[in-house]
Amino acid sequence: MIYVDGVTKEFKKVVKDSGLKGSVKSLFNRKYNIVKAVNDISFHVPKGEILGFIGANGAGKSTTIKMLTGILTPTEGRIEINGQIPFKNRKKYVKEIGVVFGQRTQLWWDLPLVETFSVLKQVYQVEDKAFNERMAFLNEVLELNDFIKSPVRTLSLGQRMRADLAASMIHNPKVLFLDEPTIGLDVAVKNNIRKAITEINEQEKTTIILTTHDLNDIESLCKRIVMIDKGKLVYDGSLTEMKTQFGKYREVNMSLFSNEDFDKLNFVSEFKVNDEDIKINRSKEKITVTFNSEKISISNMLSYILKNVQVKDISVNDVNIEEIICRMYGKEVSD
């Protein structure tokens, strides 16, 4: 369905010295730096899968999505989606895909929402019958009826995002690209949107590529994730595999009667482990100790703490996927 093979995208960036003097200098004598925003990425997505595409800000996610949607031309490598090469025949290609860029809107700002849908109906040349069925379905899952007659500029962010999602699917696309579709939304709307995405995926077997910073999106929608960092692909596999591979960490959260007490503890010498196996995060209210549960058993950890300091409250948690990703960005993969 989606084949990405050795794709690289280079940008020329103007190098500018700081300050006004630098600006003036760069007017006359421009120096360029070649930046590899995406560096030799390959992956494959079968039909009907929801792929979570994650990475830190500036990792190259958006650039990749823009290449997949035919907006940017890759410097090197090959992309094939639905048997087509996105940038080659853009107008033909985009008929079969739907795109949501969470930070932008494809709705007509000054017109009632319903007008946007009728414009899209004609642009994609959707038959009346198919259009009505589709609208009924989208109305049901995204609850558009309450605001379908309001001008788009008066919609709330949550309403707008639901409308944008609907607008990207009016023509029943085979592939859906969702770039941060839940950005800035409250939990209720996020749930609503996740439900809609799941339903669409199940009913239409739509292949979906989803980028997000909200890891709950990933946990509830994607079985498989691809992670990129600094333009390079650093992980491609299932979510559960990632959790077992990197999820050996546990964290102990505690609050103490006196925080100075904590200085008495020395985990590294007590358990004879390396610095990487233990991480301490202190704030006024609570102290978090993240540790490798393969090297230090949970009971040893707890008894050591309880023996040496006076604890007001203590709990042991699984490390959430956010923490795993931070760890991957931070050390284990980039090295």
């Binding site: 907006i71 107008k91 860029f101 932008r104 494809q106 000054d110 017109l111 414009v119 004609q122």
Partner: protein, 275 residues
């Protein structure tokens, strides 16, 4: 024929949306019309003062009546052929929202053009037709006979359509400059002054001395306002008409080709701003 009807079906909703968008801001539209009328009358009084102080009834083959018609008509043609595509496109390039056009199965330039045509429909019905009727009444009152000719008017319509398209693509080319300059505010001002001076919007090109006038008339800017206005006023012979219309067509083709080349080039090297 099939191609044309496909084209109309595909872009009709853009024109419709353009009309609706223009109607969404009625007050702004009214203020625009009012401001432009004040400007027309100021121009009229300035020229009247020029004519009265010269002490002659005609100036470079223009009577005061001609001048009045010229002032109002050149402004009308100015509304009809003016295009905001430079600023619209440059804004979209500047904030990166042009990608929202690129994910639709439409041409970027056609979708901007057909949307703007929707605005023009509003201008034609709300400004052009009333003012044109006013101009005709004025001509009848001054000349004592009906100067309006339907053939002449049809040629004028063709010429205005050509000049609008010409102006649209010229403006679009300036808009594409945003790919390279990122901020085109200065260029946009420069372009505005160039067009209003060389197109005859401020001073009829006929008033310039010999060689300067000949040069100005060959430039594309003359085709935007001066040519349609002079056609309406019946200042051209049949042979001259063929010549000026083909000149408009020539410049239109040149600008379409240039804008397509820039777009093709930009698409390969495009770096979308933001997110």
């Amino acid at each position: 024929m099939k191609k044309i009807s496909d084209f109309i079906n595909l872009y009709k909703p853009f024109t419709k949306a353009g009309i609706q968008s223009a109607m969404a801001y009625r007050t702004s539209f009214l203020c625009f019309a009012l401001g432009q009328s004040i400007y027309c009358f100021v121009m009229y009084f300035i020229w009247k003062a020029v004519f009265m102080s010269s002490g002659e009834s005609t100036f470079m083959e223009f009577t005061m009546a001609d001048m009045t018609v010229y002032v109002f008509l050149s402004n009308l043609v100015g509304f009809l052929t003016n295009s905001d595509s430079t600023d619209n496109l440059a804004d979209e390039i500047h904030d990166g929202s042009i990608i929202m056009r690129m994910i639709k199965p439409v041409n970027v330039d056609y979708s901007i053009l057909t949307f703007e045509v929707g605005n023009k429909v509003m201008i034609i019905t709300c400004i052009f037709l009333p003012v044109m009727i006013g101009v005709e009444i004025y001509r009848y009152a001054v000349l004592g006979y009906v100067a309006f000719s339907i053939v002449n008017f049809l040629i004028f319509v063709v010429s205005v359509v050509l000049s609008y398209l010409l102006s649209f693509y010229l403006n679009l080319i300036f808009g594409y400059l945003a790919f390279f300059l990122l901020n085109i505010w200065g260029f946009s001002i420069l372009k505005g002054s160039i067009i209003s001076f060389f197109s005859g919007a401020l001073i009829p090109l006929a008033f310039f001395p010999g060689i300067v006038r000949t040069i100005f008339e060959q430039l594309p800017f003359a085709s935007i306002i001066y040519v349609p206005t002079m056609i309406y006023m019946g200042k051209y012979s049949a042979l001259e008409l063929v010549f000026v219309l083909s000149k408009q067509l020539f410049w239109l083709v040149v600008f379409v080709v240039i804008s397509r080349m820039i777009w093709g080039w930009a698409q390969k090297r495009l770096a979308v701003q933001g997110g």
